[in-house]
């Protein structure tokens, strides 16, 4: 009995810590402006309104930022998965001199935080002539997700018996088809986990977007919303509505594929 009480008490505290701030954000976003500043504050809005969301879409460039974020994040996921699946396949199914050393070197690059190389990175991107493009963001995020995704997929490919692939080959499939129809489906949980990490990193990034993008119509959500926040006297209802809009895709994505995620998480760990 005392044990149950402690468990549920602790669980409740954890629930409040994890979810309450987000619930408060949602509650504020749904209140009319008068109620936002009411004393005492109301937890559940007395009047539910979507006017904060309407203002956000009608009076700001939020939709542009949102579109940019979606485009950049999805492109990053696609590119990262292709590049890292190819790389991880090479690291597990081909033998060549220096293979393990290359794998070690890739892991080492994981140790460098973006802030430590952002200056040369910026100058390099400028010299390549792709500063202030979405492509620059996609390449940055792909690069910084690669070490993790390569190692994650490498461990998944390792666990797939070579015999399955060989059997497909004996049955007359060429290597490309064997990989596409046998190896990749079996590595699906790994691909999903890698895809989610990549999506979240690209969706959340602030530093690269701040440094590499200058025109307003190319900005992604974190920088765009920070600009909205700093622009004038803070419109709290609208800002919280923006917060809700940014959070929903992440949480929806996450809830949909949570069971794969935990598996991948155990295999690697995350950065941030």
């Amino acid at each position: 009995m005392r044990r149950a009480l402690a468990l549920y008490g602790g669980g409740l505290v954890l629930l409040v810590i994890g979810a309450f701030p987000l619930a408060w954000m949602l509650s504020t976003a749904l209140k009319p402006s008068g109620e936002i500043f009411a004393t005492p504050p109301t937890l559940v809005p007395k009047v539910v309104t979507l006017e904060n969301f309407q203002r956000l879409f009608a009076e700001t460039s939020f939709l542009t930022y949102f579109t940019n974020s979606v485009l950049v994040s999805l492109a990053t996921v696609g590119l990262t998965l292709s590049v890292s699946a190819m790389g991880a396949y090479a690291l597990t199914r081909f033998t060549f001199a220096g293979r393990e050393r290359v794998a070690g070197l890739i892991l080492m690059t994981y140790m460098f935080a973006p802030i430590m190389i952002i200056i040369p990175f910026y100058i390099l991107v400028k010299q390549l002539g792709i500063v202030n493009t979405r492509l620059a963001l996609v390449l940055s995020y792909t690069t910084f997700c690669l070490p993790f995704c390569l190692w994650l997929l490498r461990s998944f490919f390792h666990s797939i018996p070579l015999e399955l692939e060989e059997a497909a080959l004996v049955d007359g499939a060429d290597l490309r088809r064997a990989v596409w129809y046998v190896v990749l489906p079996l590595a699906l949980p790994g691909l999903i986990a890698a895809g989610i990490f990549t999506f979240i990193l690209a969706w959340n990034d602030f530093l690269f977007a701040l440094v590499l993008i200058t025109s307003d119509e190319l900005k992604t959500l974190p920088v765009g919303v920070n600009d909205l926040f700093n622009a004038t006297i803070v419109d709290w209802g609208m800002i919280m509505a923006a917060g809700v809009m940014i959070t929903v895709p992440t949480i929806a994505f996450f809830v949909a594929v949570q069971r794969y995620l935990i598996q991948g998480w155990g295999a690697g760990g995350v950065k941030g």
Partner: protein, 291 residues
């Protein structure tokens, strides 16, 4: 069947190209930059040797940024560990709603930093924030506290960061907890060991290695954290009360446009981390020898 090594290298080529071009090359280029006077946009540059390093050795702002960085990383680390490990121990027990809670606890870590920051700025708002409302209503303070003013900005930043990053500790610690053999606990229970003693003599030794890694990774991540700190305090005003090394390096490069000096700060950041990591590894290896 075609498993020629060349095909392997070909498959690996895009990864190596990206990592080589966009991580390894910038690392080398950064060291080179740190030895030059370079404008962030203009092509102006001149070799100055170690002058930037000599300058920073005597620069009060550099030392203050190191101090703020250590305070920020140290305190957030300790609090994340306490909260994260407690939460993981709780989530390792069996009770109804546990799986749901395991998901919910990850939310703060999943959401973008910008959301965490605006959310806490709203909660901590001096006139309308919920935190001040509750403190006033509970009689804990008489007048609203300026949580985002210069006296409390560091506490607010730490609070926001701990909230945002403790789930990392929960997930990694929980993953290890789940692999501890239940027999160990059964045996201890038979011997009459209480909860605290079971934690102290079974859980802690079993999770020693994962704690080692968590402390290492989280210290590095917190010491190099840029976005939370920068978003929380902005560039002017109270920002100098939380100006950590990454923020200082950013300001040198992109506000004062002194790319060479910014690069030197990045090198110094790396060297400080390297030194701290070396000390950490040595200290714990020595510890192991004793135990």
């Amino acid at each position: 069947m075609n498993r020629h090594p060349l095909v392997g290298w070909l498959l690996l080529a895009p990864s190596l190209l990206l990592l080589g071009g966009l991580v390894l090359f910038p690392i080398v280029y950064n060291v080179w930059l740190s030895l030059h006077d370079k404008h962030a946009f203009m092509p102006v540059q001149a070799f100055v040797g170690l002058r930037h390093y000599v300058y920073f050795a005597q620069d009060a702002e550099f030392w203050s940024s190191v101090r703020y960085g250590v305070i920020y990383a140290g305190l957030t680390l300790v609090l994340q560990l306490l909260l994260g490990v407690s939460a993981a121990l709780l989530l390792n027990e069996g009770f109804r709603g546990r799986n749901l809670l395991r998901g919910v606890v990850l939310f703060p870590y999943m959401i973008p930093t910008i959301v965490a920051v605006i959310l806490w700025k709203w909660l901590l708002n001096d006139s309308y924030g919920l935190v001040n409302h509750l403190l006033l209503a509970g009689g804990l303070v008489r007048t609203p506290v300026a949580w985002l003013g210069k006296d409390h900005i560091m506490e607010s930043l730490i609070l926001t960061s701990v909230w945002q990053f403790f789930p990392f500790v929960v997930v990694t610690y929980l993953a290890r907890l789940q692999t501890i053999a239940p027999e160990l606990y059964e045996a201890a229970k038979v011997d009459g060991a209480g909860a605290w003693r079971r934690f102290r003599h079974i859980t802690l030794p079993q999770t020693r290695n994962v704690l080692f890694v968590i402390v290492l990774l989280r210290s590095i991540f917190m010491f190099t954290k840029f976005d939370t700190v920068w978003l929380m305090a902005g560039e002017g005003g109270v920002s100098r009360y939380v100006r950590t090394l990454p923020v200082y390096a950013y300001a040198r490069s992109f506000t004062y446009l002194q790319a060479g000096m910014g690069a030197a700060l990045a090198v110094l950041m790396f060297l400080l981390l390297l030194a701290a990591t070396a000390v950490y590894f040595r200290a714990l290896r020595g510890d192991e020898a004793v135990a």
